[in-house]
Each structure stands twice: as C-alpha cells, then as structure tokens.
C-alpha cells in the first residue's frame, strides 16, 4: 500500500469527464493496482478512483510530476502532482477478509437457539429443513402444533419473500406438514417486501441482532 499526500490536480476521462481542481489530497495506490483519491472528509468514498488492473506511467516535466493511470477499458486518470507532502509505502501482506457480524448463518443460529423467546410457544423442529428446491432456514411448530417455515435474511427484500413462497408451496404438498405458514425474518424489511409478504399471508418479523445476542442461553456447550 502506497499513501501519497500531495497538492494535486486530477482529471478523469472515460464514461464521463471529471475535474478535481488543485488541492491537497490523499492518493492511495493499493498492491493490486487500484488507485483512489480521497479528500479529508467523508467516510469511505473516494473523490475519484480506478479499479485494477491499471497501468501507471510517471512523467516528470519542468519539476512537475504527472501520473497517467490507464485501464483496459480506455479510461484515464491524469494526476498532476504539484507538491508531495508525504509518500510512504507498507507491505500489508494478505488480508484475512471481512467477517460480518450478523450474517444470515449467525442470525439463523441465534434465532434457532432462542425461537421460544422471540415467538412465544414456538419450538424448533429443524434448522436447514430440506425441500426439493433447497433447505428452508428453520422449520418450527407453533403453540397449536402447526408447522411454520422461517426464512431469514439480513435485508428483507422481495427476492426473499419469493424464495419463502416457493418453499411454502413445496412444504404444503407434504401431507405430514400441511398447513405450513411462513415467517419472513430479517434485520430490516423493505416496505415492498413487507407488502408482498403480507399479501401472501406471510408474517414479517424484524430481528434485533443485538437483542438476540443478548439473550443469555442456559445451554452451555462443550464445543
């Protein structure tokens, strides 16, 4: 990773033309060739960037340095560097990757472990209950012993409702389970997904990840 803080002017030409007037900015050159130009503000989004693979040529004319960054799509970033304030490089090695808190598998695990606390009277039959078109996240029985299929998403969108509808269609063909109702559970449910779910008689359940994690289980485990 090379980090250059410089007084620079940047011009981009490609899908559109864009100009960044002269100012002090951070230029990030990543090991894979990605280049991003950041202002001293904003959370994460660069002012301009070019994804790898890139070709970088450095030209020096009349004491002024210019980087010409091109990629196979014909896009070009021209960075005129008027003054370099800092130029450091670090070998960061390989990255272990991002572990997202609250991914679906963990949400599924938490909801399965605490299903009775979240839905009163509900008991878990099985996680990853198999159907011919794939496993439904949770199959449960409610307080009336009726089967309930639960599909869990981080973000509840229309696709998720469609998926649960297909599972319900299959599960309701099984005479041992029928009638099977559905619950669409997610940390956030989009209004369109909620309308579609409710139109199809599917209950929506918003999961509070922190709250779920906070439910202290009495079950201690060996592993």
């Amino acid at each position: 990773m090379r980090l250059v803080i410089a007084n620079c002017t940047v011009d981009y030409s490609g899908r559109l033309d864009a100009h960044l007037p002269q100012a002090i900015r951070l230029i990030m050159v990543k090991a894979d060739g990605c280049i991003a130009i950041h202002a001293d503000g904003g959370a994460y989004k660069p002012l301009n960037w070019m994804n790898a693979p890139n070709n970088v040529r450095e030209l020096e004319e009349e004491d002024e340095l210019t980087w010409i960054v091109t990629n196979p799509k014909g896009e070009q970033l021209t960075i005129q560097i008027h003054e370099i304030l800092s130029d450091v490089a670090h070998d960061m090695g390989s990255d272990p990757g991002l572990e997202k808190d609250g991914v679906e598998a963990h949400l599924q695990e938490l909801l399965a472990a605490n299903i009775g606390d979240v839905c009163a009277g509900m008991v878990l039959v099985r996680r990853e209950y198999p159907t011919d078109i794939g496993p439904v996240d949770l199959l449960c029985r409610d307080s009336n012993d009726a089967a309930v299929a639960i599909e869990i998403k981080r973000r509840g969108e229309i696709d998720g409702v469609e998926q649960l509808s297909r599972y319900l269609d299959y599960l309701n063909r099984d005479g041992n389970l029928r009638p099977v109702s559905g619950i669409f559970a997610a940390q956030e449910i989009k209004p369109q997904a909620r309308v579609l779910a409710e139109d199809r008689g599917i209950e929506c359940l918003v999961l509070n990840y922190d709250e779920l994690r906070g439910i202290e289980s009495n079950e201690l485990k060996l592993f």
Binding site: E109, R126, R127, E128, P130, D132, E216, S217, N218, E219, L220, K221, L222, F223
Partner: protein, 368 residues
C-alpha cells in the same frame, strides 16, 4: 423375475433394506424404490439414499431370475399386510404382481436401469465380535447430534486407540467415549467419521449374530452381518472433516466425586424429571452422604428426592438436562457410577465405579 418366499422372512429383510430408502428421491426418483435381484435361490434387496445403502438377502424359491425396482413403501405395506404363509412376486414388463393367500396386488415398477450401481468399499476385511461392537454402539451413538447444520457432529468418530477401537460421539452438550480393546479395525493412528444414522441401522440388524465383517474404503465403510434368515450389509459414506478435539475437555482429576448406585439414581431422575417440563433442568445438590434431586416448573409444581450416596468435595449444586443424564446413566455399565464435577458450569464426567472402557462427559445447564 419370479420368486416365492415365506412372508415373515421376506417382510423382515424387506423392512431392513427399506429403512435406507430415500423418502423423497430428490434428483433420482428411482431411489424411492427398493431394488430386488433374484438369483440362485437368493433374493437381494437394496435400499439407498446414496449416503447409506442397506442390502439385505434372504433365501427364496427363485422360479425366474431377474431384477426390478419396486416402490418401497407400498410394497412393504402390501407384503406386511398379507396373510402369513407363502408370498409370490412376479415382475413382467413394468408391472409387479404380488400375491399371498387370496390377495393379489399389481404395482407399477420403477425403471431398473436408473437405479445407481452401488459399489462396495475396496479395503481389507476385518472381523469384529458383534457383542462388543453392539454394546459400544448402544452406549455411544445416542450422543451424536441430529442437527445437519453441524454435519461433523452427526458422525461417530472411530479411531485406533492402544491397539483397539475407540468410539466417540458428541452433540456438543454431552460426549460419549467407549473403548473396545479387542477390536482391531483400524491401523495405528487411523480415524474415520461414520454417520451415526448408519450405525443406528447397523445396531438394529446386529441381533444375535456373532461377528461383523468390516470393510473400510477411502470414502466408505461397509458392515456385513449374517443373520438367521440371510445376511445384511450396511454401507455408508464417511463424513469428511475434523472431529473436535475432545481430549482437552477431560480433566485429569476432579475435586468433587459422587459415588452412587446407578439404578437408584436412574429411577430417581426419571421420577423427578416428571416435573422438569420442556427445557427445565434437573438440579443435583451433592452432600456428604446423599444427593438431592430437584426440578421446578413454574405454574406446574416441583419434585424433590434424596438418594443415598458417598460424596467427597465441597457441597455443590449442579444442574443437568435430565434426558442427557438419563441417557448417560443408561449407557454406563455396572451397579455403581461415579459423577465427577469441577463446578456448576464445567463439564462433569460420569463413569462406572468399576473403571472400564466407558466415559460420558456432560455439560451442566446454567441456573440462576
């Protein structure tokens, strides 16, 4: 294909093979059927879901050799329902005629060419005494998990241990270990993970047989058992993956040791469990000369019982899932058991006071 057989012998072997038949069939609908092959006075029946295959054979009067695949559930139900005595099955084209007494059924067959060719493991055959293996499986298989979300825990670890065989299973709440010092199935350092479902099926068929022939392949293992009316072979895929390191969970010594009659404790736990509804744990308070069992379910009631025991250590109350405790007590051999505890939140060990080859590690339940 045409054969004639006594109903009782046929239905028993047919039921055995059908237990491996896939209930759904999935991508291969023919797997909802049972494959029959009549050849040289023997009928071989094969049921499989591709993970577990059970092949059962029985002596029959073969009038015409051949093979067919019949829908499993309906055929088992038909043959079981027939009057005791001779049953005749004749398959021609896409139709199977089943007759016994004055009943006649006609069943459409499934395409025999679609039934997968199921090969046997290629490894060397090893013979194990049935009595040891049956006892070990009975003690250990019950501790395996039924949750397919953690497939490793649905298996029973079979590993070579001091020249014998060690069986280990856990569902993460309890762990059962049984050593079979006389069973030399694996070479030193070798270990395999066998689906508990397959071993459960094997336990059912072991019966009065004296020996089990085990053949271990790279990815499969098969168990051959000779029984009174024929033979049964259970073949299963091995589970790939690393079994949890269970050895680190077993401390070398425990400060608290309870020695108690196995049967009196088992009966008391069963009684007190009547008041332990749903997930209610059973509390055990260990005192110097007795143990007090207690279960409380709000809005229902509570149960107390005291059982004589010898205890060394500080007075300690520890709670367990009563079902797991019962299963451990049922599996432990001998008249007297030792329950060793560290504290209320660390795993406890249950074993026979006579020592022996069985150990049951049980995780307590947190109580306020």
């Amino acid at each position: 294909m045409k054969f004639r057989c006594e109903r009782d012998a046929l239905v028993e072997q047919l039921s055995t093979a059908s237990r491996a038949v896939s209930s759904r069939g999935g991508a291969l609908p023919v797997l909802t059927g049972i494959h029959l092959k009549a050849h040289k006075e023997t009928l071989t029946m094969t049921g499989s879901d591709l993970e577990i295959t059970v092949r059962a054979s029985v002596a029959v009067d073969v009038k015409e050799s051949g093979e067919a695949v019949l829908p499993s559930r309906i055929v088992v139900d038909i043959i079981r329902s027939l009057d005791s005595g001779a049953v005749e099955v004749e398959v021609s084209g896409e139709e199977a005629k089943i007759s016994g007494g004055r009943s006649q059924f006609s069943v459409r067959t499934l395409p025999v060419d679609d039934f997968p060719a199921l090969s046997d493991p290629s490894g060397d055959q090893v013979t194990v005494a049935t009595a040891d293996l049956a006892a070990g499986l009975k003690q250990v298989v019950r501790a395996a998990s039924g949750d397919d979300a953690r497939p490793i825990l649905t298996g029973v670890l079979m590993s070579a241990e001091d020249g014998g065989l060690r069986l280990v299973a856990t569902d993460s709440y309890r762990l059962a270990v049984r050593d079979l010092p006389e069973a030399t199935v694996l070479s030193e350092g070798q270990k395999v993970l066998v689906p508990s479902r397959a071993l459960d099926e094997l336990s059912r068929v072991l019966g009065d047989s004296e020996e089990v022939n085990v053949r271990l392949g790279e990815r499969e293992v098969s168990f051959d058992v000779s029984i009174e009316d024929g033979a049964v072979q259970v073949t299963t895929r091995l589970i790939e993956g690393e079994f949890p390191n269970y050895r680190q969970l077993i401390p070398s010594s425990y400060p608290n040791q309870l020695t108690i009659g196995r049967e009196p404790l088992l009966e008391a736990v069963r009684r007190v469990k009547l008041m332990a509804r749903d997930t209610t744990p059973l509390r055990i308070t260990q005192k110097s000369d007795s143990v007090e069992l207690m279960a409380v379910t709000q809005d229902v009631g509570q149960a107390h019982e005291e059982v004589d025991a010898q205890y060394s250590g500080d007075e300690l109350t520890v709670a367990f899932n009563p079902d797991y405790l019962i299963q451990g007590l049922e599996a432990a051999p001998g008249d007297e058991v030792i329950l060793e505890t560290l504290d209320a939140l660390k795993p406890a060990v249950l074993r026979s006071s006579e020592g022996g080859d069985f150990l049951y590690l049980l995780m307590p339940v947190r109580v306020s």
